[in-house]
């Protein structure tokens, strides 16, 4: 624990100029809640075979879900190895009005259906389209046999909290690994000011990437024949007033400017980045007004937003590694927490944008 704290302090020194939010998490945004569902058990499937389940689900509720609200949203998908439902609406209509759920890719349908059930139970006229992101946790998890229960998912939504976010091997993070080490859920936040007004940018990542090429190291748990698809998921919330073209611009700039994503350039990893602004909620009770009034930050401030988001994403990614407890998974595979010297090595790599293994 001391070691970890030390590592965090080191990171703090290196991670930029913006102060953190109170909880250093996406929940620093007013109204945003996070819930985890972790399934960590060995079961016998109906055919009598043993199955090792190391999976789960992580839900980000971007606003109190009983409200009939849309938020401006944008996304960037690179690589395309993870399923993103609701993508078409996000791309074309640029909004979300559902929880954002990250789960393993075979449970996307379950989660999708659970979101609908949740919305109907809340008497929402529209919670469609559900936004579910599927990641591949088949290295540790018997994904083919791990089926989530809808009741558990609904409970996760109900129990989601706006407090500190549990990180590491929790929720969907239970079965994930990154850079050959245990990965999972990470969170961070930054406070920045635009024209003396204070705003917050909060991030939640699910790290499940760069296992194949980026960090070849004998002691890391590296295999090239496991058929796993690598991906990094970043959910970003901002309470500054942004409109869709600005959000798209930020996601693009962010993804290419992140030091950690530079590791992507030699790999087959994919990435999904979803950014929403809580500042321009479209209230759709009685279908809403004919014309909405919005605010929009001047484009000259976008740079600040991008920098703050980049710092938060970077730290969230590192948190996802540092805070992840080791997990023993299927086929007797064990993935360890990243050791301190490896964190430093990783940071160096980020800094130098150097991908070689020398």
């Amino acid at each position: 624990m001391n070691k970890k704290q030390k590592a965090l302090e080191t990171i703090e020194l290196k991670l930029g100029k913006f102060p953190r939010g109170d909880k250093n998490s996406i929940t620093d945004l007013m109204g945003v809640k996070v819930g985890h569902l972790s399934i960590n058990k060995d079961i016998l499937d109906p055919s009598g075979e043993k199955a090792v389940i190391r999976t789960g689900l992580t839900a980000v509720l971007p606003y109190p879900m009983e409200k009939e609200i849309r938020l401006f949203t944008g996304s960037l998908n690179l690589g395309g190895k993870n399923e993103v439902t609701g993508y078409e609406v996000m791309d074309d209509f640029c909004y979300l009005n559902s929880p954002i759920v990250i789960t393993n890719c075979f449970n996307v349908g379950k989660a999708y259906n659970a979101i609908l059930s949740y919305g109907f139970a809340l008497k929402r006229t529209e919670i469609w389209p559900p936004l579910v992101i599927g990641v591949d946790d088949s290295y540790l998890d018997d994904m083919r046999k791990s089926h989530l229960d809808e009741r558990d998912i609904l409970e996760t939504f109900l129990n989601a909290s706006g407090g500190e976010v549990d990180q590491g091997s929790i929720g969907v993070g239970l079965g994930l690994r990154a850079f050959g080490w245990k990965g999972g859920i990470g969170a961070a936040s930054r406070v920045f000011s635009l024209d003396k007004e204070k705003f917050t940018c909060g991030v939640l990542v699910a790290s499940n990437h760069s296992n194949q090429k980026a960090m070849k190291k004998p002691e890391a748990n590296f295999r090239s024949d496991d058929g796993e698809e690598d991906s990094l998921i970043m959910i970003i919330g901002v309470d500054a007033p942004l409109v869709p073209y600005q959000i798209k611009h930020i996601t693009k700039s962010l993804v290419v400017s992140l030091p950690s994503t530079n590791l992507f350039k030699n790999s087959s990893d994919s990435m999904t980045c979803i950014l929403f602004s809580t500042a321009n909620p479209m209230c759709l009770e009685n279908d809403g007004p004919f014309v909405f009034d919005f605010q929009m930050v001047d484009d000259s401030f976008l740079e600040t937003v991008i920098q703050a988001a980049a710092e938060a994403c970077h730290e969230a990614l590192l948190n996802s590694l540092i805070k992840a407890a080791p997990v023993q998974g299927r086929l007797a595979r064990r993935v360890e927490t990243i050791p301190d010297h490896e964190i430093n090595r990783l940071l160096e790599k980020f800094e130098n944008q150097d991908l070689s293994d020398k």
Binding site: D92, F93, C94, Y95, L194, D195, E197, P241, V243, P244, Y245, Q246, H249, M282, L284, D287, G288, P289, F290, V291, F292, D293, F294, Q295, M296, V297, D298, D299, S300, F301
Partner: protein
């Protein structure tokens, strides 16, 4: 016999034009009247054909969107191998200084075999900062250069303390009628189009950038139309049509292209269409992208299929939210139509696009160009007969 008379008549009409003709807009004319009252060519509504259900604005033109101005410079020089039939059309998005006060915009690349400069800025900043210029393919560099000079003149700080700007210049290939390689367009021509830009009625057909364009196997060029939405808003479309082949042509669903006899042009090549949609409804860039896509649906209703060789590029802008460069505010207050209420604007866009493309045809006079290549103005007497045969004139009433 009839055909010969037609050619004689239209050629005569053509020959009285000066060697370098400048055709201007005359504000204040009612929309039903063609600006070429002495010619046989008319706007679609003048021969009694109404597209769709919505009412057009007072001029049935893109200029019905308040503040939008259109100007043409038409360049007609010489004949034979060196014949020049080209020009430039400019759309000025609002009454003020467009560089100082930007409007939201978006574009849709239906078939990318063409050029519209300034797009990367529009895609990333969501706004239009320059007038929109329409011209022949090889003129783009010259027009771009002139546009930069014009913008530098009206905005002394541009490129100095204020951001640079990439003007929007779009092209179609007018090679069939014009010696395009000679690039006989000058800065002055561009400035003159800007100076002559007016609201009100818009000259159509073989004018401005449309001078050398052919469309559906007939003479094409500039066409425009507009629609009212909810009595409050307007959607206007202006096209530079140089696309599609004759047998594809449909007017209000009627396969006119297949039915027309005679007037076969030598070349049936397809060479692009540029479509510009404007509205005074408050729409954000992502909504304008949807409008731009509906423009493509309007194009489809004319029978065009966006062939490989046709650069079909669409731009849509809204004049309702103006983002000022001078007034440096940290937080802009803007408006946007509720997505649930946007459908009538799609209807307006599709109808206006279809009518604009057909107006470009019906307004264009027969033009003889390079190497004697002839693009015939679509024979309106035949169009009228065909539309009657399919019971589109005089029988079906429109709301």
């Amino acid at each position: 016999m009839k055909r010969r008379n037609f050619i004689k008549r239209t050629l005569l009409g053509f020959s009285i034009l000066p060697s370098e003709a400048l055709i201007e807009n005359t504000p204040g004319r009612p929309y039903t009247k063609s600006l070429f009252t002495d010619s046989s060519q008319k706007r679609l509504r003048e021969i009694g054909i109404k597209i769709g259900n919505l009412q057009p604005g007072p001029y049935n033109a893109i200029t019905d969107v308040e503040g939008v101005k259109v100007g043409h410079t038409t360049i007609i020089k010489g004949g034979g191998e060196k014949a020049v039939r080209t020009g430039v059309t400019v759309i000025i998005p609002h009454g003020g200084n467009i560089y100082e006060e930007n409007v939201f915009a978006s574009f849709f690349n239906l078939n990318g075999w063409g050029e519209m400069t300034g797009i990367s800025s529009i895609e990333n900043t969501g706004r239009l900062e320059t007038p929109v210029f329409l011209t022949g393919t090889y003129n783009v560099g010259i027009v771009y250069d002139a546009a930069v000079k014009y913008l530098a003149r009206i905005s002394p700080k541009m490129g100095d303390s204020d951001r640079m700007v990439a003007p929007v210049v779009a092209e179609c290939f007018d090679d069939f009628l014009s010696d395009t390689r000679s690039r006989q367009i000058s800065e002055k021509d561009v400035f003159r189009a800007i100076e002559k830009a007016r609201g009100g009625a818009v000259a159509e057909g073989a004018v401005g950038g449309g001078t050398g364009m052919t469309s559906f196997g007939f003479k094409g060029g500039i066409g425009t139309s507009s629609r009212r939405v909810n009595d409050k808003y307007k959607v206007g479309v202006l096209v530079m049509a140089n696309t599609a082949s004759r047998n594809q042509l449909r007017i209000d669903g009627v396969p006119v292209g297949k039915e027309i006899k005679g007037f076969q042009e030598k070349s049936g090549k397809t060479k692009s269409i540029i479509l510009i949609a404007a509205t005074d409804a408050p729409l954000l860039p992502y909504q304008l992208k949807k409008i731009a896509k509906r423009v493509a649906l309007g194009l489809a209703q004319t029978g065009a299929i966006s062939q490989t060789g046709s650069g079909d590029i669409i731009l849509a802008f809204s004049t309702a939210n103006k983002i000022s460069r001078k007034k440096r505010v940290s937080f802009h207050n803007i408006k946007a139509i509720n997505d649930f209420e946007i459908t009538p604007f799609y209807q307006a866009t599709v109808e206006a696009t279809q009518e604009a493309i057909i107006n470009a045809l019906t307004s264009a006079q027969t033009t003889v160009g390079r190497d004697g290549n002839t693009a015939y103005g679509i024979p309106l007497d035949q169009v009228e007969q065909i539309m009657k045969k399919y019971m589109r004139i005089g029988i079906r009433s429109h709301e």
